[in-house]
Structures are given as C-alpha cells and as structure tokens.
Symmetry: C2
Subunit: 399 residues, 2 copies
C-alpha cells in the first residue's frame, strides 16, 4: 500500500477524471470542480443530520445509492442552503448543465455546494462555465481539491493502492473542511473514488461504517453544517469484484485508512488551529459511549484552550467526562493518560509532575487516552486546539 497526500502527488483510480476552474463567483481562486467517471459508477452517500439541508444535499440524497452515476459537480463560495425554492431551481440548473455537457441524464449527476449560507447563487456564472470544465476533465484531483476549498489552508487529497485478486485497486480521497462546520461557509465535503466493482447496497453500508469511524469523529467547533456530504463512487474499472469476505475486509480497511487520513487533515486544518488533538477511548462498555465521550472531549473549549496554551490543567478532562455522562462507577476507576504520562487513576491524581506534562504538550499532536477498564470497545476522535486566531477569523468575516 502506498499512501500519498498533498498537491501534485495524487492519482485517480482508473476511469476517473477531475478538474477545477474559476467561474467568477470568487475573484481568483478556483470555485467550480467536477469529477467524471468514464463508466457509470456505483455510488453511495452520507449527509448532514441537520434538519436544514442545502439544495444539493436534498438532490444527491434522493438519488443514492445508485449504480449509474457519471459525475459530481461542486461549487464553492455559496452554500445554496436556506435559499428557498430558488435554491432548488439553481441546483437543478447546475445539474442539468453538467448532464448536458457530459451527454447523460440529470439523475446521473450528484451535486455539492459549500460557502455562505442564505446567499442567493450566482448560477449564471456557474452554468456558463460548466461546458468548458467538462471538456477539460483530466487527471487533476488537485485542481478539484483546490476548487472546493473555503477557509481551508491546504487542499486535502489522499490515495492508496492495494492488490486484490492479483490486480491493482486504487482508492482516492478528496475532502475539504476546516472543521465539521466552517464558520462562514458551513461545509465539510468528502469524495472517495475507487475502481473496484461493488453493489450499491454494499457501497452504502461500507461508506456508513467508514464514515462513523472517520469523518463523524472529527470536530473543529462542534457545529454541524447544512451541506456536509461524503460520497463513495466505485466504477469497477480495475476488474476487481468485491465478493469474498477477505477481499471485502481488506478493501474496507484501506478505505477507512484513506477516510481517516482525510478526516485528520481536516481537523489539523481547523480554523486557527496549531495542534491536532487525538482522543482515544479504550475498554469502554459500549461503542456509543466510547464514541460520544471521545467526541465530547474534542469539542470542549476548555480542553481546546488548555492544549493551545500547553497548560497542564487536567482537571478539565475529568469535568468534561462527567458532563459526557460517564457513569460514576467508571469515573471512579478510569485512568487518563496524556502524551504517555499517567495523570489520573482510580479517582485521584496520579502525578504531581506537571512540568513533564507541560513539555509533552509542546508536540504538534496531543494524544489523550482514557481507559474506562470496563469492556472491549474503543473509539478515537480528532479535533484541534482553539486559538485567538479562530475568533479573529470568524469575528472579522464580512459577507
């Protein structure tokens, strides 16, 4: 397996093409991207749990899972959320222009948008640019990744190849997001592309599992967006059919590796962030508790600011575990470790060496491990610290 990340290092699976251009909604940066599959692809999606769902979310959700998807069109700058009936019409126009340019049906085109909520779409700029965009799709995952960025500092692409049945399978992931929600732009988007052959139901269930362990375990500011979407497209062009249990397990693990790398890159690129925070809950009595406690620690502003300031205020961790409803009998026996330093165990402080903790927290990644000593379930969540810069970015933004 060859993991790769970053611009100019990504390859697409066989039969997939991508491109990004500037259509004029934003001044200079690419703001419109397209992914095309030569052969109709099996596709699955997972979407925001918000009751306020953007027009492209409603469109894509209604189509998936599917077995005949040709393309995904995505714009950045305007979220097409809270835009009323005109928003639906604008999304239909974006999808129709893509279908026409690719000579396929509108039901074969998925859509996503990211940007300011509530602003009307500059749809004419988008539809006018689509024919040119469609004519120029090629092996440019990086340009697509740039076109979907909002407050992201870096484009996010990852790929992995693996050998199944003697053949090479590629999984390529592209994402954007400076958090579960963007202060101004409110979107996390993920695209997982592969040339393996799988059934729509299989794709949907695998994507749900993988998302629950990756994108659904990150947070920058605890908000859920109106536009969150993760797509999985599988076009079968590697000639590998996912049927045997062993192949399925190997592939799903690789897909999850790609998704976790992307998810971590989003958390690390959280607005104003200086550190990645990884929270590992181990030996929990059930998976739901493990996941909810892990996430709860990553959204606490008290923990996030303490890590930013490299302040060894570990009492805040206990406070948050109580708020996260860890049962009192577990609180009495659990242990808390930070950067491999045992801080708390069996209901009381386990170290007085706060200087060692302070030094450990200088690292770029801070790892907290909570051992609940009560079962076999584990969960890991990722977040970032909270700096003055987060406030500045979001306070100064003017629509």
């Amino acid at each position: 397996m060859t993991p790769g990340a970053g611009i100019f290092r990504t390859q697409l699976p066989q039969g997939f093409f991508a491109q990004g251009i500037n259509c004029g909604v934003r001044r200079y940066r690419p703001d419109l991207g397209m992914i095309v599959s030569e052969q109709p692809a099996v596709a699955a999606g997972v979407f925001t749990q918000s009751t306020c769902q953007a027009a492209p979310v409603l469109h894509s959700k209604a189509l998936l899972p599917a077995s005949n998807i040709k393309a995904v069109i995505t714009n950045s700058g305007q979220a097409n959320a809270a835009t009323g009936q005109q928003g639906d019409l604008d999304n239909q126009a974006m999808v129709a222009a893509t279908a026409e340019a690719l000579n396929c049906d509108s039901t074969q085109v998925l859509a996503a948008s990211t940007g300011v909520i509530g602003e009307p779409m500059q749809i004419d700029l988008i539809t006018a640019a689509i024919p040119d965009l469609a004519a120029n799709v090629t092996n440019m995952a990086e340009k697509f990744a740039l076109a979907i960025m909002t407050t992201d500092l870096v484009p996010k692409t990852v790929y992995k190849t693996l050998t199944l049945q003697g053949k090479t399978v590629t999984i390529t992931g592209i994402a954007k997001g400076s958090g579960m929600i963007h202060p101004n732009m409110a979107t996390m988007l993920g695209y997982l592309l592969t040339d393996v052959q799988m059934a729509p139901a299989q794709a949907q269930s695998m994507l749900t599992d993988v998302t629950n362990n990756s994108f659904n375990m990150i947070s920058v500011d605890g908000d859920t967006s109106t536009n969150d979407s993760v797509f999985l497209l599988a076009n079968g062009e590697s000639g590998v059919v996912l049927a045997q249990a062993e192949d399925i397990a190997t592939f799903q693990q690789a897909l999850q590796d790609v998704a976790i790398l992307l998810a971590k890159s989003i958390a690390r690129d959280g607005e104003g962030a200086t550190k990645l925070i990884e929270v590992q809950i181990i030996n929990a009595p059930d998976l739901d508790l493990a996941r909810s406690v892990a996430r709860s620690l990553t959204v606490s502003p008290l923990i996030k600011t303490a890590i930013y300031g490299e302040s060894p205020n570990w009492g805040r961790l206990i406070g948050r575990l109580g708020m996260a409803q860890v049962p009192a009998e577990l609180l009495a026996k659990l242990s808390i470790t930070c950067q491999e330093l045992l801080l708390y165990d069996q209901g009381q402080a386990a170290t007085e060496d706060l200087q060692a903790l302070r030094i450990g927290m200088r690292e770029d990644t801070v790892i907290l491990t909570i051992d609940l000593k009560s079962g076999d379930y584990h969960a890991t969540a990722w977040g970032c610290d909270l700096s003055e810069r987060y406030v500045k970015i979001n306070a100064e933004y003017v629509t």
Copy 2:
C-alpha cells in the same frame, strides 16, 4: 418591588447573616464565605447533572430538601472535585468545623466549593479560619459574594422586597460564575435567601421551576461543571406563610425575577465577553424544543464570534437551527429577527440591508427572536459573545 444590584446595595432577609474572609488559600482575595440563618431554615437545592460531582455537592444533595438548615459554608480556589476519598473527608472537616462554631449539627450545614478541579484541598487553612468567620457574620452579603468569586470580574448580588399579607418579604440572591463552567474553576453557584415561610417540598419544586427558567438557561462555553449548585433558604422570619395560591404565584414570580437577574449577570460576566446575547424562542410547539433551541444558539461559537465581530452573518443562525433539530416544516415558515430587524422569513432572506444589522449589533445587548409560528410555548436563553480574550484567559492559566 425594589430591585437592587451591585456591591454595597444588598440587604439580607430578616434573620440571615453573611460574611467573607481570606483564609490563605488565595493570596489576598477573600476565599471563604458563610451564610447563617438565625432560625433553622427550610432549604432546597438543585445541582449539576454531571456524573462527576464534587464532594460538597454530594454532601448538600444528600441533605436536601430539609427544614432545619443553619448555614452554608463555601470556599473558592479549589473545587474539591475529582479528589477521591480525601475530598470527602476534607468536606466533612469543613462542615464539622462550621457546625462546631455555630453550635449546631453537621446535618444542618450545607457546603459548596469552587476552583481548580483535581487539586487537593488546603483544608487546614479553611478549618482554622472558620471560628473567626462564624463569629463575624453580619449583614455582609457583598463580602460573601466576593469570597466565592473565581474569574468573575464583579460580585453578583440582587435583592427584591415585596409585600404579602401586609408584611414585607425580602428575597436576596447571590451568585458567582463567569459561565456554566469556569475555564479553570468549573463552578456556578447561586444562593437565594428569603424570610418567607414555606414547606421543604414547596421550596424544592419552586426552586426547580425557577432554575429551569434562569440558571439553566445561561451558557458561556457550553460546559457543565462538577460543582454547580443553587440553594434556596427560607427562614420564615417575615411572619409570612406561603399558603394561598395568589401569594405563591406572586412570590414565585419575584423569586424568578431575582434568579433571572443573577443568571443574566453571570452570562454578561462570561470570560472575555463584550456583549450579552439574549435568544427568545416564541410560539414553539413544545417547551422542551423552545428551551433546547434557545440554548443551542447561545453555545454556537460561530454565532458568538459573529456577534463579537458585529458581523451580519445571519446564515449561521439558520445553520444552527438545523443542527438543533428544528423540524424542516418549521424551518420553512419561521422568522428570525435581530435587534428588531427581520432577517429571514418563510424560508428565505427578508432583508438585504446588512448595514442596518451591522449598526444594530453595536449595542451592548444583542437580542435574537425566533418565531416558530407553531404553538404557544416560549423560552429565553442568555449567553455572551466569544472574544480573543476568552482564549487568552484559558490558554494562559497555569495551575
């Protein structure tokens, strides 16, 4: 009714005495306070929902409701939470020293602590100072209010008098808190004192109602503390017995007014805050939805930073309403007003005059009203904006 707030303006109900002193846990500031009722008082309490409850919370909770409470002892600087068995012993020592000084039983003394979580108590300093403190209780609600402060910038006291059955009844409220949780000190404490006569069960149910409309509707950073406690003490010394429905309603309204004034003063004094945010949810189909949506808006970092920056980014409000699970059919008809300017109605933008909104947001208090147009339930929540200073306070704190 004569509301009063601020230092040197508070009076205590008949038969109540208070004082605050420095016992040496903190360098100069008062850090130990006591409230004494001449006659045994009826008392009720509401406490943090955290599963991690401080030793004084467990002690006070076990005693209440009660009809024979003589005193409340409170220290600041150390929270006595996550302190193991030693924490329970330390709390017992603090309570026993108070009972001895007042010549009453330990079961007549309530306790509260606020400060750093996990740090062992400097209990010897506290018990040594209690006899002197008990000997000097007088009409010094302000000194008590100062003694329980942590990161608070101002002491928080309010009183109200009302006439019932031809007699004067006083309600005095004292609180501390720079939020539902203090970054370092993790506590919100409230004390409601009155000279009316009421039954313990009546006191408990009234306190629960009042707290649900006041202290439980504020947030600074979305965290719940290990030490949150609100007490109601009623000693009957006004000679007024609360029995008739009309008197009960009048008294409860006055008690709620006091609690809301205190709650708002906590939100306004949130760490780093520059503005008070009031969120009014009106015409909701049920009370739980109204309350949860109101609170959800006050904890969103995106909304808090936008208000801090006076940035008219109202799309963030819709995003948060969706995350708060407002049903889609309500989202399609609700209206959003900020500073009396209609921003959004019937699923789309209602104004393009963002400059007027920007000017309105310059006020010291920003009021958001969400009209759900679907029922008769209302709820109001209070919070504060999020500034760089919040991050600085919490990042730089060193235990």
